[in-house]
């Protein structure tokens, strides 16, 4: 909508429909671009944490470095909050709210499963977390009606789980690094799609 002194003028039916359509599209684009920033942030964090923890485990062979995973939400949530404060507050629509809830649920699952794993380390934790990560990614793709994200989520979930079954020890962390890459790529796809 152009700035003008005629913003209160009467319009034809076609002009009215065009204006409604323009506003709805701009709004949707703005909201989904904002969601994309969060995909990129969490993808980058997952990638960095996976590689750093992989290196530390590889060099020291000390499993306690796995505790560093808990620093990820501690760092990620304040950063995500900062991202929201930077510039105009972008409202939530149905899609962005649902995306938010899907990833919040994933985060809750991941944290609780990781805490349980601290006491009784199950060999299938990577398999479980990566399958859930793929599921969350796939669900996001279905919500956004975006095939690359749906397929990326499926490959991440199923492929990551299979790889996690085949490889042992800290090499499994590289599955999460791939997950981080796919997550960040999702953000970039959404950002480009709604530019």
């Amino acid at each position: 909508m152009e700035k003008s002194n005629e913003q209160n003028k009467e319009m034809t039916a076609q002009e009215s429909l065009d204006l409604i359509s323009e506003m709805l599209n701009n709004n949707r684009r703005c909201i989904l671009q904002n969601s994309a920033k969060h995909f990129i942030l969490w993808g980058a964090l997952l990638l960095v944490f996976s590689i750093v923890i992989y290196e530390l485990l590889h060099v020291t062979r000390d499993l306690r470095w796995n505790l560093l995973w808990f620093a990820m939400p501690l760092l990620g949530f304040p950063l995500a909050r900062l991202l929201g404060k930077n510039g105009t507050a972008v409202p939530q629509n149905v899609i962005s709210s649902q995306l938010h809830y899907i990833w919040l649920a994933y985060c809750a699952f991941a944290v609780v499963i990781s805490i349980v794993a601290m006491f009784e380390m199950p060999s299938c934790i990577t398999l479980l977390l990566v399958a859930l990560l793929g599921f969350a990614e796939c669900s996001s793709g279905l919500l956004l009606k975006n095939w690359p994200i749906i397929i990326g989520g499926f490959i991440l979930g199923v492929g990551g789980a299979v790889v996690a079954m085949l490889v042992r020890s800290e090499v499994q962390l590289l599955v999460f690094a791939a997950g981080g890459l796919i997550l960040a790529a999702t953000g970039l796809i959404v950002k480009r799609q709604y530019q």
């Binding site: 009467e10 034809t12 204006l19 409604i20 409202p91 939530q92």
Partner: protein, 98 residues
């Protein structure tokens, strides 16, 4: 150019319609966001928001974020109904004029 005197006069104004088109798709939106999306001036936007509020189409919450005044707008059920009716009327008019 055909005008529509029978359409809802509250909605049949460019800026008020733009505000309602934004609010129909979101939970709520703040004043700064509405200003950015519509490209309106603060004064004009305030006046139009007051008119929409007076019609019962939106609710406005005024508060502070830290020390900065913060205004949030939310569409009401009456507003949603009026918007849907307005869009239906537009579609009917366009299909009748074809």
């Amino acid at each position: 150019m055909t005008m529509f005197p029978k359409l809802d006069p509250i909605l049949h104004s460019e800026l008020r319609l733009a505000v309602m088109s934004i609010l129909i798709g979101v939970d709520e939106a703040d004043f700064t966001y509405l200003k950015k999306q519509t490209g309106a001036t603060s004064g004009n936007l305030s006046v139009q928001i007051d008119k929409l509020m007076a019609a019962g189409y939106i609710t406005v919450e005024k508060g502070f974020k830290g020390k900065v005044p913060h205004t949030t707008c939310k569409i009401t059920t009456t507003g949603q109904d009026a918007f849907n009716k307005y869009v239906e009327s537009l579609k009917e008019y366009l299909s009748a004029s074809k």
